[in-house]
Structure formats: C-alpha cells, structure tokens
C-alpha cells in the first residue's frame, strides 16, 4: 500500500488535507456501513513555502448559491472563454482580464498543481494588528515580575505599527490610557459588576457625544475605524511609555486576609476587553491576551469563592452537580466568546498557577475564537516564557504565524453534504443546499468563522454521502470538495486561500478492497477521536467510551477477518492494523479519562486536541516512546511497560510532556558519576542523546511541553508509567526483579488480549 501512503502524504503536503477514506463509497447506505464517516482533517493555512500567492481576485461561479472558485477541476472552453463550475455545473464567462487564456496560457488556478492557491485581494483599509494585554495583578511578586518582563520583551516582538493596549485586573479592573504624558491615566471598573457593551463603551468614553450626531456632520467614511483610541496605541509610539507602565505595575494592593483567595475579577476584565475592542475595532484582527494566575473569585464569571477552605470544583463536584458557580461562569464566558468571535477578535488564555485557574469555565473563550490556551505552573518558568515568545514566531517570509478573522467556506459536489466541523471555530449559520441534516460537531452550516489561526490550525470536517444506492455513479467519477478560506494575513493583507480536492467514488460492493485499502487509519483515528472528545464535552464519560467501543467493534466486524468463536483467528488488513491500538490509547488518554485530571487539565488537553494537526494529534492519542541504549541507535519502542528496562534511557513525547526516563542501571551509573570519567565517554553521549532530541522536539512545539527528566523510582516517573500499556501489572504474577520491564500499578486492562 505504499502507493496510498505516498498519495496521502502528497495530498497532505500540497493541500493540508487528510481524508479518513481516500476512495469514497458511492452510496449513502454503503457509506454508513463503513462505520468511520467520510471526513477530513483540513489545515487551512498549511505552510506552503513553495506557493507564491497570486495578486488578483479569484474568479467565482456566477450562480449566487454556489460562488465556487475557478479551479483545476473545472472544464474550460478556451475558445468560448467559458468555464463550467464543477460543483453546480453553471457555465460562466471568464472575466475580461482572462481574455488571453488558452490551453498553453493558463492562469495558475487552472493548473493541477495549484489545487491549493492563495489570492491577495484588496478589501477595505488595512488596520494594524491589535494586541490587548489583560493582566492579572493578583500574582506572587516573583510571578508578576517574570510576567512583566515577558510582556516588556513582547513589545519588541510586535510589528512596530501594531496597536497595543493594557488592561490590568485584580479586585478592580483598570483600563490604561497609553497616550498621556506626565500622568498615567486609567479607567477603573468594579470587578463585581456585569456591564453591557454599551455601558463599557460609555464609561470609557468611546461613544461619540450625542452632539456630533445632531450636528449631522459628514459621517466618517464607512468602515474607516478611527485609528487613534486612547487605549490602543501603536507600539512604536508608546513603546517606552508602556515599558515604564509595565515596570511600575504593582501587585493588587487590596489586602488578602489569611485563608482567603485574592479577589480576581477576570470575568469583568475580559468583558471590558471585549467591549473595548468591539467599540473601537470590530472586524479587525485583534488578540486579547489574558494572563491570569488564579481562578476568578468575584463578579460575573467567578469560578470559586474567596474562601480558601472551599476548594475549586473537581470532576467529582461536577459529576455530583456540586460546582456552584460553573454553569453561570460558563454562560458568561460563552457570551463573551461569542461576541468576540462575532467581532472577529480572539482571546488567548495564559494561565499559570499551581492550582486550577478556571480554564474549564473559560475554555470557550479560546476554543470559539481560535485563541491560544497555555497552562503552566508559574509565569516564571521557561514553559511560559518560551511559549509566549513563540506566539510571535515568524514564518519563512518573516511574517507572523498568525492570521485573523478567517471564514472557511466549504463547497461539495452534489453527492456530498456537509455534516459539521470540529475545531476552533464557530458556525456562521450559512444554510445551503450542501448542508446535511446529519450533524457532527459544529453543524448546520457550510461556513465557519475562525477568528485566529496559525499554519497548524486544523479542523475536522465531516461529510455525508447523500448519493442514493439506486443512482450509481459512473465508473471513474470523482467527488469534489472546495475549501475557500478568506482571512486577514498577519501582514494585514486580506487573502483568500482556495483548496479544491477530488476523490474517486467506488461501489462498496464491487470495489470494497479499493475502499478498504484507501482507508487512512491515522486520519480516521484522529477524526473519530475528535468526535469522541466533542461528545465528551456534553455527555457522560462512560457513554462516550461505550460509543467509541461500539464503533471499534463495528469497524472490526466490518473489516476484520476472523472465524467465529476463535479470537486468535482475528486479522485486520494493514490499513486498519493500528487503528485499534489508537483507540485503546485514546480510551486511556486524558481527553476522555478525567480520572487524575482536574477539569482545567481536561479542558486544556481537549483544547489542543481539537486544533492540532494530524501528527501532533496522533502523538497526543498515542505518545511516542524512544529507547536509547548501547545496542544501537535510538529506536521507537512499544508504548508498553515491557519497554521499561534497566539499561535503557526512554524518551517519551506525549505532546504535552517530554519525559526522559533513565532505567534503573543507567540511573545508578549516572549516580556513580561514570559519565564524568573519560573512559566512559560513550555513556556520557548516551545520556546526552535523549536530551538533545528532547530539545529538538521542544524547539518546534507550541505550546512548550512540560519537560520532565526522571529516572527509575523517581516520583516524576509516574508520567511515563501512566501512559504505557500495562502489560505487566502487580496483578499478573510476574516475580519481582525479573528483567522484563516494570510492573504498573493499575487495574486497567492491557492492550494485548491474554487468553
């Protein structure tokens, strides 16, 4: 099946897309019998250094309900200068600019290698990027200092013309005016009061006085936002000012008595940030960057009271319906997130604290707007510092790896309909003929808004085959899907990226092998996992697991080969062979298992799972384990307790953590200091090798993974032990001390079925 693997890889590289099925069952009935739905993982802005954008407008199908973009799959009549839409079959005249086209003089969008193409278009005024810092001041001095330094540092990373703003909060919320000389001004809000957008704008003086409207003076040209707002100023102008301001930032001065949490008005602070941008720069790329060091403890969006003796809600509380503030808080943040998304802004959450910070309640802010979510123990850690720095990383062109205000429009040929999408987006509620009633994820629309995205942002998009069984598709027929992504590039240009893909139809009865062979088990596993995680947000955990199990059983039933009553006879083809293993680890993953995780952690993991690309997602589902030994180069080994051996160094990458684990012997050697002896230099190299590899991984990952360097018997070894397949546990009678890996203290069942 090398060919299919290559095909899949090629397609992924060119179009940023991975389908669960690369040959599509041609009827609705057959498609449903395939268990895994027809779906794809789509990375709209996949980095394509080889793809220069074209500087003109795309040509659109003239049918108002279609408006598909001219693409290589369209039939073109060069003589008549006509093209036929491959989605609605509308025949369209080329625009005058295309008068010169011919078979030999084709525009880029007609060339097959440009199945993905990017247009730069001139739309409206270009507004600089906006960064609004929302900073918690209820931090420990050390944390605040570190945060201040990070923020000051970030000013140098911003584009000089970017607008920045600063809101600080603790018991009160302060919106800082950045333009004033001689005296620093800020507007202060009570942290307990829910204010409407209008109130906030009135209080900030953003609404024009009634006088000007009465005077009927010529209104400013539409869509021309007034660039200067007292609260948002170009970095290059107030660089020094803001640096000083940040430098003078003090911890929240209100006294916190023994046994209390500081009063933290995160809910109001966010609300004001949203209101501020809403009133000044709607529909312009803007990031609200929330830095918080603890849970919101007052006002709308509070997660926990200020009494320390009442702990923040746990999964146990939530299951018992004992989380007093959760529902109300979630409602508050959802309202904010929706408003933010409507305005085309995004909210990042950088939460650094040892305890929970309320990510469970606030997650929607990042999830619905495409913002980042970063969770750490302290702002004074490299995890936060480097992650934050990486937000401002640049691509090969020197552009920031961030885009704003994207709308993703999906068009399908008529045999397909769109069931939904799962990813950091919201529905734009565009109901068209290609919208299915069969709903997965964020559904009922053919367009989504992704307020912020980067080159790795990946959506799962689910389809339904609607072709009836009695209307066979002719041999060689292909179904097509077009993704049109309009967005604001970090250079503030408006751009449109169009990806048009097609796959062959196959009759499931005659061409079952084709379909089976074209199964992308990795994509399928991630897509199914996304469905499962999506469900887990709203359903009971066991129900989701049962659903996953049922799907797996059905899939094995459908595609496995076995003799009844003979487990050992069961076989799956290569294209399916890894799938059950993925599902096994998925079941144990923190995405579906809440045991041992706080609600915040679950939210954090799920957030990242719903937006990372296939590779990263797979790592999350099934961590990668490398083994280092004197016996040869590092090799990937089974994520199994049997891989934990005394003379090995293991490197595990779970996406969120990088764990380096020294086997018992290695650890003893290191303790004995052999690595420092010249004659054991190879041991030194062995110790160093995983460290270097870990660095490599961490260099590229966002967010920075937690780096754990441990050894046999170390307390942090639990990160490894909790991930590996418990093939050996304290239950299965292996005598202690045997050189056969490490027993895991768990009652979980092992992947390997033991008769």
């Amino acid at each position: 099946m090398a060919t299919y693997l290559e095909f899949i890889q090629q397609n992924e590289e060119r179009d940023g897309i991975r389908f669960s099925w690369n040959v599509w069952p041609s009827s609705r009935l057959e498609a449903t019998r395939m268990v895994v739905p027809l779906a794809c993982l789509f990375t709209p802005l996949k980095e394509r250094p080889d793809l220069p954008p074209v500087q003109y407008e795309p040509v659109l199908c003239s049918r108002p309900t279609c408006k598909a973009v001219l693409n290589p799959l369209c039939q073109v009549d060069y003589r008549a200068k006509l093209w036929a839409c491959n989605f609605c079959f509308q025949r369209n005249q080329f625009p005058p600019a295309y008068a010169g086209i011919s078979e030999v003089n084709q525009p880029a969008e007609l060339m097959p290698q440009f199945s993905t193409i990017e247009y730069i278009v001139q739309r409206g005024p270009q507004t600089p990027l906006i960064f609004l810092y929302v900073v918690d001041t209820c931090l420990e001095e050390e944390d605040l200092q570190a945060l201040k330094e990070s923020l000051q540092m970030s000013l140098s990373l911003l584009p000089p013309d970017a607008l920045v703003g600063l809101i600080t909060f603790g018991r009160m919320v302060q919106v800082h005016e950045l333009s004033c000389e001689g005296i620093s001004k800020s507007y202060v809000f009570r942290g307990t009061k829910d204010l409407t957008a209008k109130q906030i704008q009135d209080m900030l003086g953003l609404t024009k006085p009634a006088m000007s409207t009465q005077q009927a003076r010529p209104v400013q040209p539409q869509g021309q936002p007034f660039i200067s707002s007292r609260f948002l100023q170009p970095v290059h102008k107030i660089d020094m000012n803001l640096t000083d301001l940040l430098g003078e930032l003090q911890r929240d001065p209100w006294p916190v008595t023994q046994g209390k949490r500081p009063l933290r008005s995160t809910g109001v602070a966010l609300s004001i940030a949203v209101g501020l941008l809403e009133g000044t720069f709607p529909n312009t790329g803007a990031r609200i960057m929330l830095f918080t060091g603890g849970p919101p403890t007052q006002g709308p969006g509070m997660v926990v009271g200020d009494e320390l003796k009442v702990p923040i809600r746990s999964w146990h509380d939530i299951e018992k319906d004992n989380a007093r503030f959760m529902k109300k808080a979630i409602k508050h943040y959802e309202m904010l997130a929706n408003r933010t998304a409507t305005n085309g802004h995004c909210i990042d959450i950088y939460a650094c604290a040892l305890d929970q910070t309320g990510l469970q309640e606030m997650k929607c802010c990042a999830n619905l707007t495409g913002g980042h979510m970063v969770m750490g123990d302290s702002f004074n850690t490299s995890l936060f510092k480097q992650t934050f720095q990486r937000v401002f990383s640049k691509d090969f062109n020197g552009d920031f790896r961030m885009a704003f205000g994207a709308t993703l429009d999906v068009k399908t040929s008529r045999e397909l309909k769109i069931s939904g999408a799962i990813g950091p987006c919201i529905s734009l509620n565009v109901k068209g003929p290609c919208v299915s009633e069969n709903e997965y994820g964020i559904s009922g629309t053919s367009q989504w808004k992704i307020c912020s995205l980067d080159p790795t942002t990946t959506l799962g998009i689910y389809f339904e085959v609607v072709n009836q069984h009695n209307a066979p598709i002719p041999q060689g027929g292909r179904g097509a899907i077009q993704f049109v992504t309009q967005y604001q590039h970090s250079s503030t240009q408006r751009r449109i990226r169009v990806t048009t893909v097609a796959r062959s139809w196959a009759d499931a009865q005659n061409q079952f092998q084709h379909i089976e062979a074209a199964f992308d088990q990795e994509a399928a596993a991630v897509l199914m996992a996304r469905l499962g995680v999506f469900r887990a947000e709203s359903e009971e955990g066991p129900d989701v697991l049962r659903w996953l199990d049922r799907q797996l059983i059905r899939l094995c039933q459908k595609f496995g080969q076995y003799n009844k009553e003979d487990p050992s006879s069961f076989r799956l083809s290569d294209s399916f062979s890894l799938y059950p293993q993925f599902m096994f680890h998925l079941r144990r993953s923190p995405f579906l298992q809440v045991f041992n995780n706080s609600p915040d952690e679950s939210s954090y993991y799920r957030h990242h799972f719903a937006r990372q690309d296939l590779t990263q997602s797979l790592i999350m589902i099934q961590p990668i384990l490398y083994s280092y030994s004197f016996h040869g180069p590092p090799e990937p080994v089974l994520l199994d307790s049997s891989s934990i051996l005394a003379d090995r160094i293991l490197l595990m990458d779970t996406f969120f953590q990088i764990v380096i684990y020294l086997g018992e012997t290695i650890a003893q050697w290191r303790k004995a200091g052999y690595q420092d002896m010249p004659e054991y230099e190879n041991f030194k190299h062995l110790l160093q090798a995983p460290l270097d590899d870990a660095q490599d991984i961490m260099q590229t990952r966002f967010p920075m993974p937690r780096y754990i360097n441990t050894e046999h018997g170390g307390s942090q070894a639990r990160f490894l032990l909790s991930k590996v397949n418990p093939s050996q546990t304290h239950n299965n009678l292996y005598p202690w001390g045997q050189e056969s890996g490490a027993p895991i203290l768990t009652d979980d069942v092992s992947l390997q079925a033991r008769p």
């Binding site: 009160m172 005296i183 620093s184 800020s186 507007y187 202060v188 009570r190 204010l195 209080m203 001065p253």
Partner: protein, 1029 residues
C-alpha cells in the same frame, strides 16, 4: 455681617428718604415755610408724629442754633441732603464718613470751623465699636416710655434729662468722647445750656462732623476706595437713627413734660471711655429703677408694622420716642465697659456671663466657660408651670470644641488608665466637680441621678475635713468645669483604636469650574496649604493624610504614592455604583509624597484646561470619599468644591425646582426641604463612617443648596457659597475661608450626650448633626465653630438648693487620631420667683435659640406662621414679666426686663431675616444656605448675623496714609473675628448696591415688609397689652 452672601442686585434709591427730613424739621421746631411739609410726612410709620408736635405747641427740642433751619432749607429740596443734620446722629449706628462726604457742599456753611477736619479725622475712627451709643438709653418714645423696672437706680433718659443741668453735662461730655472728640470741644463751650438741653447738640454735632469728614475743600473730594463699604444708605434711612442720635439733645423733655426723668445723668457718652454713661444706661432699664413716669399717651403706633412698606401713614397722635428705645449698641458698649475688664470666674452657680460681644477672660473654677456653654437663662424656674408661664425657652448653646483665646488654657487631658474614666454606675455620668464623695471617699454619689457608686481602688483618695478629696486641686475632673478624658478602646468603633483622620479634596473640574479659574486657583493654593493641616499639640507634623479626587460626570482618583515618579489618575465612570479604585497611594502623608502631590496639582489645571464637560455628579463624589475612608478605616473630612446642579445621570441627580411662585404659599416650605431622600440616607452612611463633608459652592445659578447641603449639614460640615465666582473679586475671600477651614482643629466621629440632674431633661437639639435616637448627637466631624443648641424641659420639680446641673460629654477622635472624651459641666440656679428668671436671662442666647427654632419651623410650616409664633412667644415672655415682675404701671407703658430689653429689636431682626421675610433679590439658594448656616451658629455669630454692625468711616481720599491703613486694619480685625471671611463691598451713595446696604440696616423698615425697630416695638407692646388685658 455678610456671610458670603452675594450682593443682591442694587435697587434704585428708595423713596423713603424724604420722610426723615420731615422729622428733622419738626424736630427742629422750625416749620419753616421753606420746607414743604409733605416731604416729611413721607416717613413711614410713626415718625410723622413728630411733625405734628410742633403745631401742637409742644415744643420739642428747640432748634439749637440757627443752623438747623439753614440746613433744612438748604437741603430740603434734595431729599438726601436733608440728612445733613442728622447725619451726625447717624453715627450712632455707624454712619460712614462717606455719607458726610457726599453731602452737598451746601451743608458746609454750617461748619463752624473748617479747622476741624484734620483734628477730627483720627478721632472719627475710634468709635467704631461704640458708635451707636446714643439711642440705647432712651426708651421713651413720644407716646410711651419703656421702663425697666429692675434694679439700676440711675434714671434713664439721658436725652430726656429734664434737669437742664444734665443736658449741659451731656454736652460737656461730648468732647470727652473720642468719637467726636475734637469738635465738641470746639463747640460745646459756646453752646448754651438751654441749647444743649433743647437738643441743640444735634446740629452741633452734625456740623463738626461734617466738617471733620470733609477735607477743607469739601464737596468734591474723591472718595478713597479703601473706605469701608457700608456707609451710604444711611442717608436714605437715616431717619430713625437720627432720632436716636439725638438722645442727648432729645426733645422728649419738652414733648413730655411729665417725665420725671432721672436727674440729668451725664450725657450719653459716645465713647466707651465714659463709664458714667453706662451706668446711666443700666439705670434707665435697671430692674431697680422705678417705673418711669408715664410718658403719656397711649401709643397707637405700630401701624403697618409687619406689613408691606405702605404709603406713609398718618402720624399717630403719640408715639414711642425713638430716642428712648433700647439700643443694642449701647447695651453692648455698656457690657463691655462693665464686664470686659474683670475675668469671669466660673466658680459660682448660675452666674450670667458677660455678653458675647464683650471680650473677657474666663477662669474655670468648676463650671464650663461660656465659650463652651451659654444658656438662655442661668436661673431655671423650679416648676414646669412657672416655665410655661414665662415661656422663656430653657436652652443651652453648646460649642464643645470652642476655640479659646491664647490666654486661656485648653482643657486638661485626664487619663484614668485602662479602666477608663470614672463614671456613675447608673446614669453613666462622668466624674465631675459636683459628684459628692461619701464614706470617707470610698463611694461617691452621682450629682445627676443620686446613685451611689464605689470609687475604683486606683481612684480612691481620702477626704479632708470639708469632705473634699485631698487631691481636689490635682484633678481637673474634680476642680474644673471642662476637661478631657483619654478614652479607652471600649470607646472606639469596633473596639479598635481609630487611625488618624484623612482629608480628601474633591474638585469639580467641569467647564464652569475651569473657566472661572477656580481649579487653577485651588490647586495652586493647596500646594502651600497642605503644610498647615491641623496637628495636635506640639506635634511636628500633622497626622492627617490627604487624598485627591477630581470629577465632572465621572470621577478621577489619584495615586500619589511617594514611590511613584508621577501621579497616576484612575477614572471611575461607574457613578451608579461608586467605589474606590485604589487603596494604597490614595491617602498619603503630605511630606512623604510632596513631589508627587505638587506634580499632580500642577497638572490638574492643565489636564482639564480644554474640558467641555458641563455636567456634574454630586452624590457619587461623596460616596467615593466615604468609601475611601471606609477602605482606609479612618474618619475624615471631604472638601468638596462644586459648581453646578448635579444633572448628570447618577444617584442623587437633581432637577431645577426653583420656583418663586411658591413664596408665601403653603408650599414654600418645600424649597427648604431636600428634593430627594437620597441624601439623607447618604448622610447617615457618612456619619457612620465618621466622614464629615465641607462643601464649597461656586454656583452661577440655582444649585439647590437645600438638597446639596443635606450631607454637609448632617455630618457636621460647613457650606460656603460664592455665587458667580470670579477669581479677581472672590479669590481672597474664598482662599481665606479655605485656609481657615483646612487648618482648623476638628474632632471626628463624635457622639455628644447631654446629661442633666433630675428635674430637667434635654428634649430637643438644633444644629448640624445627625441623631439616630433621642439622646445621642452624632457628628461625623465637629470643629470649633459649630454649636449644638439643646433645649431642656422639666420633667420634675427642681429645688433651689441643689440647682440644676448639665454635663455635656463629647466622645471624639482628635486630629491626631486619639480617642477622647471632652466633658463640660455647668451648674445653674433654680428659682421660685419669676423675677429671678428674668433677671438672669441672656438675650443673645435666647435669640440664637429662637432663630434656630424658627428656621427649623420653616421646614414644616408656612413662613408666616413661624413669624407669628415667634412674635407671640416673645410677647408672652414680655407680658409675663410685665404681669408678674414689674411694678404696676399704666397700661400704656412698655416695660421690658433689663436682661431682655433688646429682645424686641433682635427678634425683629430675626423676623426680617432672609429666611423669614425674603426680599425680591434673595434667591432660594440663599435662603436655604442661610437657614443651614444659622442652624449651627454660635451666639456671637447669630448676634452679629442678625444685627449687623454699622461703623462710620470718615472720608479718606488718600490710600496710603495712616488712616486708610487703619481702616484696613479695622476691616481685617473684624474679619479675624469671624469664622468666615467677610465680603467687602464698597457702596457709594446712589449706587445700586445701596439696597444691599439698606438690607443690613435692620432697625429700619425694610423694603420687603420688615418692620422698623420702632414699629416693631410698638407692635410688641400692643401684643403684650393684649395678653395682659
């Protein structure tokens, strides 16, 4: 006194002037054909009576020299000039030199000696204090005589002096008086006895005065601006005064031959230097003095008295002799002379202190100084029946933190240790000189409730053979009337010692405030003023912390923490739900944060220089200040500088409800009531926090003082009002008030309780404070100017032996944050004879009480009702006296108790005050302002407030001469005596402001219907007679 009141717009010169000429003429007995009689008739009220006299052939003062006629003739044509003669007389109530200056040169002919001026000038200024002398003695009016039946033997009527000798002496005395010193000398000798007797003095005096006032070149002399304001209207109103002045030469003897008149006592000294004179004065009303022989005729006067200024009334047949009615100026002067030199020693029970107008030193020997407590009567009727009969209110005006002159020591601070002050077990009265130690000193019996309490061991002391504790003189609480205890933590809020108070300056920075220059002026001033925050004792630095807020329709708080490089401004727009946005750095120590504060005060005017915001909020500002104090857990004071009606959308928003149509209707009272109840509850919160609010208003139009003043009033704060503030003209006044207000010592978070011995009980309280129950007066702040007037009622019989005791205990936090109890004790006599009551009354205090009572009344009753009630009560008081204490006399005789002889004139002033009888030019805000102001005034202030002082100033064309300087010194010295800076208005004759000036001539009939003194006295007399009959 003009308490920050705006000058009412001038009114054209009034008509009544000519009337006085008539008086003059008739007086002069020269019905010269030249003078048309009609003009004289114009004098409203009884005056015309004089006119008739001459015809009847009862010659009054014969024209002295030939001069009067001349003057008359000369002046008659022009109404004003007619005063020429009387002008001098005007002196009595402070005619100004200006008056004289303005006289047409015509009058000059009278000047006997042009020499006079130079000599006189210095002299002219001396009399300021005592000027008005003339009229006091003479109670007699043409128709009646007021006799003060009480003691003083010397017969009254200086002026009447039947014996010619007296007159002579009178004239002789004149020279002695420094007032006119120079000229009388010149003139007196030549005057024949007869002349003097016949009242020739008047002209004489007048002449020299004129002479003196005029520089030789006379008429056209430029008036130096430095001359004090009040002068001019005198002329127009001069009439009655004239008559008073004449007392020396008073024609009465002629008019009323029967007057037995005391043997010509020395003539009325115009100057305090004449002791003899006072004696006479006293004599004339003195209780001992026999009833004055009737001056005859039934009095039919008082026409029109309370009514509007009507057309001239036909002269009643017989009238009160204006010369003989009691003159406040004289009384004040007498008291000064009699009692000003000796210290007032408080040892004895029930001593009546000197008048508030007298400077005297107090020696505390067991009773509180009258500076702290002043009573309406120092002898209380033993029974409530008696009290009811007399109708004399029993009240004490208490000024617990009164400022003392430098020669008197502040109260000693006593520390009774951890257990706190020693108190009676039952009534909780504090240890005081009246407590009786028994059982060898082991116990003490409470002087208030008679309960016996164990003396705490640490407080035990043996008694000497007289039953006094051996340490009697070592312990202030045993030997003094006033002292302080250090309070223990039990006396503190939440059982925590308070933190030092804070001052928060809250500055309106709306368009009006910025444009008028207020903001800039204020910020500039604060920079230096902050160095003078009140400090306790010898503290090097004030413990008071300061904070700053500016506002228009949003509030700006400032962080001025010393560690900041520049101040930080924090805007709070959420005025609906006010809060304090910062904790640390809002309230700071001035010296630590000086640079930041200076930087802030420099920047505030700049920041708002271009503001276009005209709307303001008000209640949220107070809330903010209060919340700030709450957050800082300290008491404090807010200084609010506010310009306009708060119409911006916020709690406590107000609307313009000024409606002149409500005047004289039943709804008039609503103008005094707050527009909304919101401010009352806000005030309550403020009091609970110990947040005192001082409000400086700079309105250009109606701001609803009645509502805005609620919080300052209930928190013990002050209101200052500067209408149409202009930096050029009002700067000095405002800054002076501000400085005084910021620097003055003030106590915070105070509770005052007045305990009394059995038999009487404090029943009612007046003043700027808050009460949540019936006994405790709560004051967020209390300064040395604020008083609480307490009314007492009987609840049992009192005994003459034990008298009545009052203990006022004030628990407060000092400006350094120390919790203290200030105790004032006062013992009063009790009487079974009404005469004793009337002999020991204090009219000034009585007026203070009556004014406060009436001013509270207007909140609930129509103004007319309040006025009538006042008149009726006073009539009853006087009638009771007449009936029970005075010797039988003709009904036609008006007899006043010596101690209350000024009651009518003062009462009339109260009745004519802006609150009770407003003129057209008095705004609703002014009335509300005055009403609140008076409520917490002390006796000295109400005295001068209701009875303004008139001082004569001679013309002074040169600015930089000693005289001009003295004028200014004089003005300064007056200002120094007042708790508020007095506005200086220079009024010229025929100037529009003359109306304003007239407004203060309270003995005259006022334009808006207030009666003249004479008329009112007649009316009062009528009332009394009705009561008696």
């Amino acid at each position: 006194m003009n308490v920050n009141q705006p000058a009412p717009p001038g009114v054209p010169y009034g008509q009544p002037q000519p009337g006085y000429t008539g008086y003059q003429s008739s007086y002069g007995g020269q019905p010269g054909p030249i003078i048309p009689p009609s003009p004289y008739g114009a004098y409203n009220g009884p005056v015309p009576g004089y006119q008739q006299l001459p015809p009847t052939g009862v010659p009054r003062a014969p024209p002295s020299s030939g001069t009067p006629p001349a003057s008359t003739t000369a002046r008659a044509p022009s109404g004003q000039s007619a005063y020429g003669q009387f002008g001098q007389g005007d002196v009595q109530n402070g005619p100004s030199s200006t008056v004289q200056m303005q006289r047409p040169p015509v009058s000059q002919p009278f000047v006997p000696a042009p020499v006079a001026p130079l000599v006189n000038q210095p002299a002219t200024f001396q009399p300021y204090g005592s000027l008005p002398t003339s009229s006091q003695v003479t109670t007699q009016m043409a128709g009646m005589q007021i006799s003060a039946p009480a003691a003083a033997p010397p017969p009254s009527g200086l002026g009447y002096g039947p014996p010619p000798t007296s007159m002579a002496s009178a004239s002789g005395n004149f020279p002695g008086s420094s007032l006119y010193g120079s000229y009388p000398q010149n003139l007196a000798p030549p005057t024949s006895l007869a002349q003097a007797h016949s009242g020739a003095q008047t002209p004489q005096r007048s002449v020299p005065l004129q002479a003196s006032s005029f520089p030789p070149s006379a008429a056209g002399a430029p008036r130096p601006p430095s001359i004090a304001g009040p002068p001019m209207p005198v002329q127009s109103f001069g009439g009655p005064q004239v008559s008073q002045t004449n007392h020396a030469s008073s024609p009465s003897p002629q008019a009323q031959p029967p007057l037995p008149g005391p043997p010509g006592p020395p003539p009325p000294p115009m100057h305090s230097s004449q002791p003899g004179y006072q004696l006479q004065q006293n004599g004339s009303f003195g209780p001992a003095r026999g009833p004055q022989p009737n001056y005859g005729g039934s009095y039919s006067a008082a026409p029109n008295f309370a009514g509007q200024p009507g057309p001239p009334q036909p002269p009643p047949p017989k009238r009160l002799d204006p010369d003989s009615i009691p003159s406040p100026i004289q009384v004040i002067e007498d008291d000064r002379n009699n009692r000003g030199s000796e210290p007032f020693v408080t040892g004895a029970r029930g001593q009546v202190p000197p008048l508030v107008t007298t400077n005297f030193v107090v020696k505390d020997q067991g009773n509180a100084s009258p500076r702290y407590i002043r009573c309406t009567s120092y002898n209380i009727p033993c029974t409530s029946d008696m009290a009811k009969q007399a109708q004399v209110p029993l009240a004490a005006v208490i000024k617990p933190l009164a400022r003392l002159p430098p020669e008197e020591a502040p109260p000693y601070v006593v520390d009774h240790g951890e257990s706190g002050p020693v108190r009676c077990n039952r009534c909780k009265a504090y240890m005081c000189p009246f407590m009786q130690f028994i059982e060898g000193g082991r116990r003490f019996q409470c002087c208030f409730c008679s309960c016996v309490t164990e003396v705490p061991p640490q407080y035990f002391q043996h008694l000497d053979h007289t039953g006094k504790r051996v340490d009697f003189y070592d312990r202030p609480e045993l030997s003094l009337g006033s002292y302080e205890f250090l309070a223990t933590v039990d006396y503190c809020k939440n059982n925590k010692f308070p933190r030092p108070p804070a001052f928060i300056f809250m500055i309106d920075v709306s368009y009006n405030a910025v444009r008028s220059g207020l903001v800039k002026l204020l910020c500039e001033e604060l920079k230096s003023l902050l160095d003078f925050l009140p400090r306790e004792g010898g503290a090097e630095e004030s413990a008071v912390r300061v904070g700053f807020v500016t506002y228009n329709k949003v509030l700006h708080f400032y962080n001025v923490k010393s560690s900041l490089a520049q101040p930080q401004m924090m805007v709070v727009s959420d005025v609906a739900d006010m809060f304090v946005p910062l904790l640390d750095g809002f309230l700071v120590n001035v010296s630590e944060s000086r640079t930041v504060i200076t930087s802030l005060l420099d920047q505030i005017p700049e920041m708002f220089a271009d503001t276009r915001e005209t709307e303001t909020v008000f209640a949220p500002v107070i809330q903010a200040g209060m919340e700030a104090l709450k957050a800082a857990e300290c008491p404090g004071k807010l200084f609010l500088f506010h310009t306009s009606l708060p119409i911006a959308e916020a709690p406590g928003k107000l609307k313009n409800r000024d409606d002149r149509k409500l005047l004289n209707t039943d709804k008039e009272k609503t103008l005094f009531q707050p527009q909304t109840g919101f401010y009352q509850s806000l005030a309550k919160e403020c009091v609970a926090q110990g947040c005192c609010v001082d409000l400086f208003l700079f309105p250009n139009q109606y701001v609803d003082v009645a509502t805005l003043g609620v919080v300052p009033h209930h928190t013990g704060g002050s209101i200052y009002k500067y209408a149409c503030f202009q930096v050029e003209s009002d700067q000095e006044r405002f800054l002076s008030d501000l400085r005084r207000d910021v620097q003055k010592d003030v106590g915070f978070d105070a509770v005052m309780r007045v305990r009394t011995s059995t038999g009487i009980r404090a029943t009612d309280f007046f003043g700027a404070f808050y009460m949540s129950n019936t006994t405790d007066v709560e004051l967020a702040g209390l300064d040395g100017d604020k008083t609480v007037t307490v009314e007492f009622k009987h609840d049992d019989r009192l005994s003459e032996d034990s008298g009545a005791l009052i203990q006022c205990a004030l628990l407060y936090t000092s400006c350094a944050g120390q919790r203290r109890l200030r105790i004032h004790n006062l013992s009063l006599n009790c009487c079974t004879q009404l005469a004793d009551l009337y002999r020991n009354c204090e009219t000034d205090t009585l007026i203070n009480y009556l004014a406060k009572f009436a001013y509270r009344g207007v909140l609930s009753s129509p103004v007319k009702t309040v006025r009538d009630a006042l008149i009726s009560q006073c009539a009853q008081i006087l009638a009771c006296y007449r009936k029970n204490c005075a010797s039988p006399s003709s009904a036609g005789q008006l007899i006043l108790p010596e101690c209350m002889k000024l009651l009518p004139v003062y009462l009339n002033c109260v009745l004519k005050s802006d609150v009770l009888q407003p003129g057209a030019e008095v705004t609703t805000d002014d009335r509300a302002y005055v009403r609140q102001l008076v409520t917490s005034m002390d006796v000295a202030e109400t005295n001068v407030f209701f009875y303004p002082r008139l001082l004569p100033l001679s013309a002074l064309p040169v600015l930089e001469n000693p005289l001009s300087k003295r004028v200014r010194d004089l003005i300064d010295s007056f200002r120094a005596q007042r708790s508020r800076y007095m506005k200086l208005i220079v009024v010229k004759q025929e100037d529009k402001l003359e109306m304003l000036f007239k407004h203060f001539l309270v003995e005259d009939k006022s334009l808006n219907g207030g009666a003249s003194y004479v008329d009112f006295l007649c009316h009062m007399h009528k009332e009394i007679r009705q009561l008696l009959s």
